[in-house]
Symmetry: C2
Subunit: 187 residues, 2 copies
């Protein structure tokens, strides 16, 4: 999952690890953070696979001035997508696995929806809604079965979880709806 996120960000512009992590955190927001402990190994893996590449450190930029980011002093490693990387990223965006429906996977996929084909978008949104609906129903059932046996706090926890799931289902329905009206299915 980090793979697609990293490729997606580098597809917009070259970056180094630190910046990548910051953009990742603000892009995915609540959905995920990703620590360096997974980011750096991923960068190495992607580099070995040939999807990304390190920009030359260009020994000394005697560039004088203020506010200009032409640097890359010692130790700075700037990564960019290779041609194969771009291709690979496009392939990843065009396929949908079950991992696109869990919290983390869905957040990542949604973050790159602008570059995703609209039929794939719809498929992901509907798959996610399906999953969240099942989750909500499961919680509703379990809640109905065990409501009287639960203490106040457990009940609160469950109800909050259920409401969150229901809210997400409604949100997804809106997204699906506007996705459909924007591109009616050739009917």
């Amino acid at each position: 999952m980090l793979e697609i996120a990293v490729l997606g960000l580098l597809n917009e512009s070259p970056m180094h690890g630190y910046e990548l992590r910051k953009r990742l955190a603000s892009l995915l927001g609540a959905f995920r953070a990703f620590s360096y402990g997974s980011l750096y190994p991923t960068l190495r893996r992607l580099q070995e696979a040939g999807w990304i590449d390190e920009e030359a450190p260009l020994e000394q930029t005697p560039a004088p001035s203020v506010g200009f980011a032409g640097r890359s002093k010692r130790g700075k490693r700037v990564y960019k997508l290779t041609a194969e990387g771009k291709e690979h990223f496009a392939t990843l965006l065009a396929e949908v696995g079950p991992e696109a429906y869990d919290d983390e996977g869905f957040g990542t996929r949604l973050a790159f929806f602008a570059q995703t084909r609209s039929d794939i978008r719809l498929q992901i949104l509907e798959g996610r809604r399906q999953r969240m609906t099942e989750q909500a129903d499961g919680m509703r059932t379990s809640l109905a079965r065990t409501r009287e046996r639960m203490d106040r706090y457990t009940l609160q926890l469950q109800e909050h979880g259920l409401e969150s799931a229901d809210r997400e289902v409604r949100w997804l329905s809106e997204l699906i709806e506007s996705e459909r009206t924007a591109r009616p299915p050739l009917g």
Copy 2:
């Protein structure tokens, strides 16, 4: 975190792994699942530490009747808390670390609030609210700064995340409020 959950459930009644996992899933609801890949190693770890113990398999229970769970046929491992385990669990419930404020840790702690001291309950609820407030504020700021640069989908993702965080803050505030009125702080 699994540790406290397992101890808490076994504190209610002895159980085997499979049942433990099911109760775990329904107890924590959306907050967490826990797979066998972590459950069984945890059980072993807890057993080695002496917090839990295996009930004797008692070769054959010729117990006749219906609905009685006196079994334990071949291969069934029923675990129960030891005296040290009960003590350890009480200690765990009485202390609050930073891990009690993230999604998983908070869900687990809340699930055993009924057995937690009320001052500790309040501390956990307030710590969680603090964290969620910070998260929400961070998202609001980042949203305000980058709103125009974002595409429709990223914006949707961020706004949904923000609303969820705000909702949780409100929910926590209600819990804190009712916690305070139920047990006014000796004032």
